[in-house]
């Protein structure tokens, strides 16, 4: 009976570990090189300087339109990834016993503010183009990083909770 109980506990804690691993990889995906650098490339003023200096009005207009489309795609992706990370955090939080109301509320508010900011930026980009909203995008990147770091803090809480939950059966953590 004890062996059976231990086995169930091991299976559950393994599932918990996998969940935490998934969340960590999701949040890591958030600010990894491709997305960050692509945002830098999309909003890079050097491209606009080049186009505005050497090309005709027709090309300048097409370029602005193209960059606006890319910027909106980038924002859409940032929103989707933030929502995915939040969803995974929610799933992990259900199993955690170390939840702090203040931190969770703060995280939810930050997340919604981030989504709101993304929506505002999308509207601004459609009206004013990608380069006019460049500075604001930098602020969104700042929010993205902040939300990410807050999620990391929370993951530590969830992590330690799952460690307590799993007992000493799994040995040292390798996350």
């Amino acid at each position: 009976m004890a062996k059976w109980a231990l086995q169930i506990l091991r299976q559950r804690s393994q599932a918990q570990l996998e969940l935490v691993q998934q969340i960590k990889s999701a949040s890591r995906r958030w600010d990894e090189r491709p997305q960050r650098d692509l945002a830098d490339r999309i909003f890079d003023s050097r491209d606009w300087d080049f186009v505005s200096r050497y090309t005709s009005l027709k090309i300048r207009k097409t370029f602005q339109k193209e960059r606006a489309l890319l910027a909106v795609s980038w924002l859409r992706r940032a929103k989707a990834e933030a929502s995915l990370a939040m969803q995974q955090h929610r799933n992990a939080a259900r199993h955690s016993k170390n939840l702090e109301l203040y931190t969770e509320t703060k995280l939810v508010l930050t997340h919604f503010f981030f989504l709101f900011l993304c929506n505002c930026l999308t509207t601004l980009i459609w009206f004013h183009g990608a380069f006019a909203t460049r500075q604001m995008v930098l602020h969104v990147l700042h929010w993205n990083v902040r939300l990410h770091s807050e999620l990391e803090d929370l993951l530590l809480v969830v992590d330690s909770a799952s460690q307590i939950y799993s007992g000493r059966n799994l040995g040292p953590r390798t996350l």
């Binding site: 491709p34 997305q35 650098d37 692509l38 490339r41 999309i42 890079d44 050097r46 491209d47 080049f50 186009v51 050497y54 090309t55 005709s56 090309i59 097409t62 370029f63 193209e66 960059r67 489309l69 890319l70 795609s73 980038w74 992706r77």
Partner: protein, 154 residues
């Protein structure tokens, strides 16, 4: 592409491909077009007889896929001005007349199939957009050049 687990197996094939084949091609666009055209449209696998003979089909295909991703990434993170220069150099390196290449690339949008199979969606969009702009700029330069010449002659 999952290259981490099998990197050790493909290193000799990769080195061979880079030193013997890719280094002889001028510029990133030549390499990108070469690698993309070596890919079978149906299976997505890369075909290189010499490389397959020496290192096996799987290692050869993986090495080519990795090189394709590297070349593509280099172009994606290039500023537009450099893309224009690189594309210009590529067009000049082909045996075709520049206006024909420009027309073909613009109309058929053949650059769309030069992206690696497992590339990031946004990176692909960025690449397509930049190449489209570069083509427009080069086409404009083409139409401006005879006008300038005529003005100079007059």
């Amino acid at each position: 592409m999952d290259s981490s687990a099998t990197n050790v197996d493909i290193v000799p094939a990769l080195t061979d491909l880079e030193t013997r084949t890719l280094s002889r091609l001028p510029g990133e666009f030549s390499r990108l077009v070469y690698l993309a055209s070596s890919r079978d449209c149906n299976s997505g696998r890369y075909v290189h007889e010499g490389l397959s003979y020496h290192f096996g089909e799987t290692a050869a295909s993986k090495a080519m896929a990795l090189c394709h991703e590297r070349v593509f990434e280099e172009l994606v993170y290039c500023p537009l001005e450099q893309i224009v220069q690189k594309l210009h150099a590529y067009i000049a390196s082909t045996c075709e007349r520049p206006e024909n290449v420009l027309k073909s690339w613009s109309h058929l949008q053949s650059y769309r199939i030069t992206i690696p199979s497992d590339c990031d969606e946004l990176a692909a969009q960025m690449f397509w957009s930049n190449v489209k702009m570069a083509l427009m700029i080069l086409e404009e330069c083409q139409t401006m050049a005879p006008q300038n010449q005529n003005a100079r002659l007059a």
